[in-house]
Structures are given as C-alpha cells and as structure tokens.
C-alpha cells in the first residue's frame, strides 16, 4: 500500500463513506457473468452444503446437499452444479475467429463469487472432482471430472494478476474503493457494501453493524454462521437423516424442503447483494487496457478448451520443479504488467506510484530536441534530452527505462540523472523511442519546455526463462521414483478415494 492509498483510507474513516482509489475499473465485467455462491459444511474438508448459481439476478438456481457427509449426494450436487457451469462455458465455445493456429473464441466465460473464500471453495471442489473416475466401483457422471478440470483451470488462472475469468466481487470492489476499515473486514461483502452503498435509509454505521450480525446479514460464505448451524441446520439435517433411515417418504420430502428453505434464507441475501455489487461496478468506466488483458484471457480459454477437446489429462496435484518455476515466472510478469498498465491508464494509480517515488510527473524546464548520437553501427540517431522539475519524491535510479502516459504511444525514454534542486528534483531523461524513422524526431514526439509530463518505469520485455527439458531435470529437482503424483497419467487411488462418515 502506498501513502496515497493509506491516506484515502483515512479520508474514508473521517468522512464515513468510501472514497475512490482508482478512476477506472481495471477488471472486465462480462455482459453475462455466472455468479456462484458456494456454501460448505463447517469442519468437513471441502464438503459442499449448497450453491446458488445463475447468470442473471432473477435466474438463480439453488442446489442443496441434504446430507453433505454422504458421498453420493455430494457427487450428485457436483454433477448438477457441473452441468450448469459446463453449459455456461460451452456457450462461449463458438464463433471462433482468425485462422490456423491463432484462431480464438471472441469471448470468455466469467465466474463471479462473493469473496476469496468462494474461490477457495471452488478450488477444493475442483480438486475433489477432477480425478474421479467415470467407470468402476465409485463411478461418477461424466460431467464431474470435466467440471473439476475446468474449475481447476479457472482457479489457476485467477491467481494471475489482471485476469478476469474468475473473480471475487469483494476484490474488485476493494480495488476501486477505499473504506474506513481494515483489509480483513473488507473481505466481508456486506461490510464492504455498507461503506460503498449502504441500504436506503441506513447510515454507514448502522449498515456496518448489520453486516456483522449474522441474523440480519448471513455470512457470504463459504462457511455458514455457527449459530445458524447449531440452531437451524443441525436439527434439519437430523430430521432428514431420520426420515431417510425410516424410509418415510413424506417426512423425507418435508425435511428436504425445510432444508432448502433454511439454506435459501442464508444464501439469498448474499445473492442479491452480489448482483447489487455487480451493478455498482458496471457504473465505473472500464480502463482502456482491460481489453488487452481480455484478449489474453480469450487465448488462454481457447487453448484450454482445445486441450479439453483433445482429451487432456487432469492438472497434476503438485507442480513439477520446472512447471512451478515457469508458473512463478508468468505470475511475476503478469503482475508487473498489470501494475504498469493500471498506472498508464489511471491518474489515480499513477499518483499512487508517484507518492511512493516509483513514478514522477512535473514540468519540462529544459530541452535539447536536436541532440543526436552515433550508434555502434555508425548510424546517427536522434537522442533528445529533456529535464523535468518535479515535486515528487523520486526514487528511480539512472538507466531506468520509462514510459509516459502523457506522450503518444511508443514513446520511450531512459533516466540520465536525478539531481535534487531545493525541495524539488530535476530528472533528466533521454528519449529513445517513438520518434519515427527520420533523422529528425516526428512532431510532438519530444516533450517541449513548460509541458506537463509524467513518467513511469517500463516493465519491459523479458525473454521467457529457459528451463531444461523434463527428461533432463537434475536429480535435485526431480521427484523420486516412489513419490506419488509424479505421473499425472496415473493419479493414485483416483476412483477409490475412501469416503468417511457414510451413513
């Protein structure tokens, strides 16, 4: 967090309302997102309790597992949720554009969950489903492993900065608004919405108090409130179990509809609030460079889609050494680019970086527009130098490559020197690109005296790191022969994973 964002939080505290942190929404919002609100049972490992799913506010479907400890019911749930999600994903696998190896689907699915816990719940569900076998003693419907693999793909992709195929709504809200509460409390959708848009007739204080009262605002999941578990849910599940043991069909139907009603009462407020949050986010303009990241999402979606069509294997349980290193490399690169893109698009984010000394803006006080140098290949090229006077606490060193949101695209520069000048700083930069091919720089491609200009570091192009092939991994980095998970083709005990507490 920078000083500027911290100050925004203080301002929010003082004014008792959320204040904007960015000018734009840096995440793409699909015109047809699929909202999933997953609920899990407390204490069980990834035992789904219920989910509400749908791609429009009025079209939510509630799926409930009456006895989450029962394996068959769990997978019946996974299959019906899976069918909805796979149908949704399939609806984007059409209208492919472009030819040859570069053709792509023009749009991607987008799944929105209320909070980070929702992503964790989907990750667990994906892990639970993707190795299931569709034949043999513990067979599950075909859609279950397919669903598991897609969920795992989406969860992995969500780790990458700037992507928008699977997002927590609290995350997008907190990227755009600063509240007068901590990051921990911002994870609570109701608390966060209390600051941004309190319900009509309520003050922020009242809305915050309501948000933390599970009887007014049930938790957005994935865990339900312990009071609800003990007071309502446990007796209801017990009635269901008793009816089932006795084989009393009427009591069973009654118990089941009771359970649905109880869970609906817990999940519907979150469902409504999630759609309110989405509507609110639509009112924030989308940042220009979001489209560039969206195209990458399209490429990733197309390529995974093709991989699935070719009958690809489920993702392995643990990355190999090379896979992990590659993945880390991608994640780092995506983060650097996302940060730079945001600062380029958004004056708020740029100001944020400026307050931390990672970017600067000021007025050109001196320019040498006709300066040229001779390159190693004996070519004379323009290398104009300009000096900028800035009040920002610049912490960039000489030789840092720069980009500028205030110059025509393609403009590139490098820092020559950073010198203090009273309470300001003089930064001299050499323009290295974006001046056209002529001996003389194109008009408007070099800053002129008295011009206001901002610069930020260029994340630049980095070659993809080279790693040895999988058959040439040194012994220090390869899994030992007996270790499980080394062979993705044979996930151990895939079908027969034992399931406890069956009744």
């Amino acid at each position: 967090m920078s000083m500027l964002s911290a100050l925004a939080h203080v301002q929010a505290t003082e004014s008792m309302q959320a204040v904007p942190l960015t000018a734009f929404r840096h995440r793409r919002l699909s015109s047809r997102p699929l909202v999933i609100i997953p609920l899990v049972m407390a204490g069980e490992a990834g035992a789904p309790l219920a989910a509400m799913v749908g791609s429009a506010r009025r079209k939510g479907t509630l799926l409930v597992v009456a006895q989450p400890r029962n394996r068959d019911q769990r997978f019946a749930f996974a299959a019906s949720l899976g069918r909805t999600v796979i149908d949704y994903i399939d609806s984007f696998r059409q209208g492919r554009r472009g030819g040859g190896g570069h053709s792509r689907y023009p749009d991607t699915p987008q799944i929105l969950v209320p909070n980070h816990g929702g992503i964790k719940a989907l990750a667990d569900l994906g892990r639970m489903c993707r190795f299931r076998s569709t034949s043999g003693p513990h067979a599950v419907p075909d859609v279950v492993p397919e669903f598991g693999m897609w969920l795992t793909f989406l969860v992995d992709r969500a780790e990458q900065a700037g992507t928008s195929m699977l997002l927590p709504v609290t995350g997008i809200l907190a990227e755009h608004w600063a509240t007068g509460q901590s990051t921990l409390e911002d994870q609570n959708l109701a608390s966060l919405m209390a600051w941004i848009a309190p319900p009509a007739g309520l003050s922020v204080e009242q809305a915050m108090a309501d948000a933390e009262n599970p009887d007014v605002c049930p938790p957005a999941g994935p865990a339900t409130s312990p009071e609800f578990d003990n007071r309502d849910l446990a007796p209801a599940i017990k009635r269901f179990d008793t009816a089932r043991t006795l084989g009393d069909l009427r009591a069973l139907a009654a118990a089941e509809s009771d359970l649905r009603e109880l869970i609906a009462g817990q999940i519907q407020p979150t469902w409504r609030m999630t759609w309110e949050a989405i509507a609110l986010l639509r009112s924030v303009p989308e940042a220009p460079r979001t489209i560039k990241r969206f195209e990458r999402d399209c490429a990733a979606f197309t390529s995974y889609s093709d991989y699935r069509d070719s009958g690809g294997l489920p993702q392995r349980k643990r990355d190999t050494a090379i896979g992990a290193a590659q993945r880390l490399g991608w994640l780092e690169r995506a983060l650097a680019e996302f940060e730079s893109d945001m600062a380029f698009d958004d004056p708020f984010v740029l100001a944020d970086r400026r307050s931390a000394g990672e970017a600067f803006a000021g007025t050109v006080v001196e320019a040498e527009p006709s300066r040229t140098v001779t390159t190693a290949s004996n070519r004379r090229v323009p290398r104009p130098r300009v000096t900028i006077r800035t009040q920002d606490p610049v912490r960039l060193a000489a030789d840092t490559k720069l980009l500028s949101p205030s110059m025509p695209s393609g403009h590139k520069a490098v820092i020559v020197s950073v010198l203090p000048d009273g309470d300001a700083t003089l930064v001299t930069v050499e323009v290295t690109g974006g001046m056209g091919r002529a001996r003389v720089p194109a008009r408007g491609s070099v800053p002129v005296p008295d011009q206001r200009i901002a610069y930020l570091p260029d994340p630049g192009w980095r070659p993809a790191p080279q790693f040895p092939g999988s058959d040439r991994t040194p012994w220090t980095h390869s899994a030992t022969a007996g270790e499980t998970g080394a062979d993705p083709a044979a996930p151990e005990d895939a079908a027969a994973e034992e399931w406890g507490n069956e009744d």
Binding site: V10, G180, T183, L184, S225, P226, A351
Partner: protein, 379 residues
C-alpha cells in the same frame, strides 16, 4: 512479593470464578503479546466473553456443532483399538521404527476424572517412562500442568508418544485436511502454538526431576485427514521458533506485577453477579474500568480475542489508525490517529521534530489527491 500482585489480580476479577489458562488462551498470548488489557484479563482469570458481552460487545465466537462432531469422530477413529491407525501412520507415513508399543489411557484414573488425580498419575507414568522403566509408549490424554504467573494451568494434549528416536513427542490430532500434502497455514500455525504449550509443560515436568529438556522433542507430529477422506495422514511440524516465542511470553507473565503497579487503586472488572449469575454492575461503570487499561487493538484480534469488538469500538472512538490495520498504519510511522494524519496532510497541524519528514510526504500525497479530485475524480 507475589502475594500483593495476586491480591490485585483477584480484585480485578472480583467475585467471579477464576478461569484458568487453557492451551487456547496460552496460544492467544502469541497473537497479541503487547496487549495489556488481554494480559491482565487472562492473568486475573477473568471471563473475557462475559465482560465483553456486558460491556455491550458480545463476542461472535461460536463453534459449529458440525466442526465439533467431525473433530471428535476423527480423533476417536485415529485412537481406536489402542491407536492402531496412528501406529500405522507413524510406521508407514513417517517411516519410524517403533518396536514394541504400549498404550496408556490417562483419560480417567479408575473412574476418577479430576484434574489433580489425573495429573499425579500422568506424572508417575511419564517419569517412569523417561527413566526407561515404563511400558507405555503412547499416552492418551495425559494431564499436564504448567504454572503460569504463579497459577496452575492444566493442559491436556491429545496424545504424547514416547520413544520416537528416544524422545517424547507431542501428537496433535486435528480435523482440518491436508490436501495433496498442504494444509491451511493459519490452522497449522494455531495447532502448532497449542502443541508448544504442551511441550513446555512436559519439559517443565521433567525438569523438576532433573531430566534435560532435550528429552522432549520440539518437533510435533500433526495427524489430520488426508485429502477429502476420513483417513488420517501425518506430518512432522518444526515448532522450535514457536516454543521459543511462547517461552518468552510466559516469562513475561511472571512480570505481570509491573503492569498491575501501573493500574489505579481499586480498579476491578467485577460484573457484580447476583445469585442467579446475572451481571448487576452498570455497564457504563464496567466500560469505564476497562477504558483505564491500555489495549493494543489489531484487526486480526477479531479472529481470536473475545474483547476484540469492544476494543475496536474504543479504537474507533479514539480515531486510532489501528482500526485500519497494519498495512495503513505502517505508512504513517509515529502517528497514531486519523485526525493527526489529516491535520498534518492539510497543514493544519505543525509537525514535531520527528514528524517533519512524514508531514512533507503527507502534504505531497494530499496535494496529489486534491489534483485528482480537480481532474474530475472517479465519479
């Protein structure tokens, strides 16, 4: 020397029954060691949940019956048939060579479940084992005792195993899953801290008869469900750092007298319980008493301390930066309140010598935000 401090602590608690430290409240020590209010409430054995509720900020900590049931079922399953499943794990998963194995149930001694009796028996068998002439290798629910600030706290580990490499090992059975070899780090940490209290208590017991602390390993054995199954798996967790941290905090409780000395005379958190256990003391009076003791609120407290909601409302009333959490706080080193931050940012307050740099940075940041608002802002 000790007596007056104890008297003062008793006076703080008032008429309520003394609550002893449990492994959980000891673990809380590690989460926010610098909080005076928590230190005093714990040391005096006050009922934090009741006090917070009476002061108008009931704590939201309930445990789901599902989680409890799952925990119990899992523990029973691991310990069934003289810990057969556990032994399989120790041998197969952790590849230990355990020759002959005994099992000693210390849950109650001949039907007597009193802590003192169980502790005496525990002491007897553990010391025998340490001296090499006890048959037991696995001790189920031994009752350990740790003096904390001059008071006995009885602690009950799930299991203590002996002779894994000739040393005692604390075995912690938890019902959160280890999925593909990875478990939730916060849960592992909480489990480890809890186990640290057992390690320290066990070492204490042995030290009294001159057995070196090396006899108790500072590696704990964590047993938890594997993946999504009910089958257990086990892992070693290195607890050296947390043992050291908790030992340090325990030593600090011994010096609770220093904290007590700073309190005004006659301060008490007594709820004035009547014979129906209803609190009769006016809530404002209680809040006033609480307000006299400094608290170190952090948003993280909301996850584990019963007093957190009270402390948060107090921090809000004081416009403390603590409410916004460490990420915001660390940007404004040396400044405590939002009022001060804005005062310096808008140039309404004159910075002290130490604040000059911070004030300059703040004014710069405020200027940037003002420029943005002129530009039209986000909305």
């Amino acid at each position: 020397m000790k007596a007056p401090v104890d008297d003062r602590l008793d006076a703080l608690r008032g008429s309520a029954k003394r609550l002893d430290y449990s492994a959980r409240s000891l673990a809380a020590l590690e989460n926010n060691p610098r909080c005076t209010l928590r230190a005093l409430l714990d040391a005096s054995g006050s009922d934090k949940a009741a006090i917070a509720a009476h002061a108008g900020h009931p704590s939201p900590f309930g445990q789901s019956a599902f989680a409890l049931a799952r925990g119990n079922v899992f523990e029973t399953m691991v310990k069934d048939n003289g810990c057969a499943e556990l032994l399989r794990l120790l041998r197969e998963t952790l590849q230990l060579t355990l020759p002959e194995v005994g099992y000693e149930d210390l849950n109650d001694i001949g039907g007597d479940g009193r802590a003192e009796v169980r502790h005496d028996r525990t002491k007897q068998v553990l010391l025998q084992a340490a001296r090499g002439n006890g048959g037991g290798t696995l001790f189920d629910h031994p009752m350990l005792c740790l003096p904390v600030g001059g008071h006995k706290a009885f602690l009950e580990p799930d299991l203590v195993a002996f002779r894994i490499g000739g040393r005692f090992h604390v075995v912690e059975i938890k019902s959160f899953p280890i999925i593909d070899g990875q478990a939730d780090p916060t849960q592992v940490r909480a489990a480890t801290t809890q186990a640290c209290a057992y390690i320290i208590a066990l070492r204490n017991l042995l030290a009294r008869v001159g057995i070196d602390k090396q006899a108790v390993s500072d590696t704990i054995v964590l047993v938890a469900p594997k993946d999504f199954t009910n089958r257990p798996t086990a892992a070693f967790v290195d607890a050296r750092k947390q043992v050291a941290a908790l030992s340090r905090q325990l030593a600090r409780i011994e010096r609770i007298g220093d904290l007590v000395d700073l309190l005004p005379e006659g301060l008490t958190f007594d709820l004035g319980l009547d014979k129906d256990k209803r609190a009769r003391r006016p809530a404002e009076e209680l809040a006033e008493a609480l307000d006299q003791v400094p608290a170190t609120y952090r948003p993280d407290c909301l996850n584990h301390c019963e007093m957190a909601f009270y402390c948060r409302s107090r921090a809000r009333a004081d416009s403390s930066l603590d409410v916004l959490g460490p990420a915001v706080r660390e940007q404004f080193g040396g400044i405590d309140t939002t009022t001060m931050v804005l005062g310096l940012a808008q140039g309404r307050l004159t910075p002290t010598q130490d604040q000059v740099e911070m004030a300059a940075a703040l004014r710069h940041a405020a200027r940037l935000r003002a420029e943005l608002n002129v530009l039209g802002g986000a909305e």
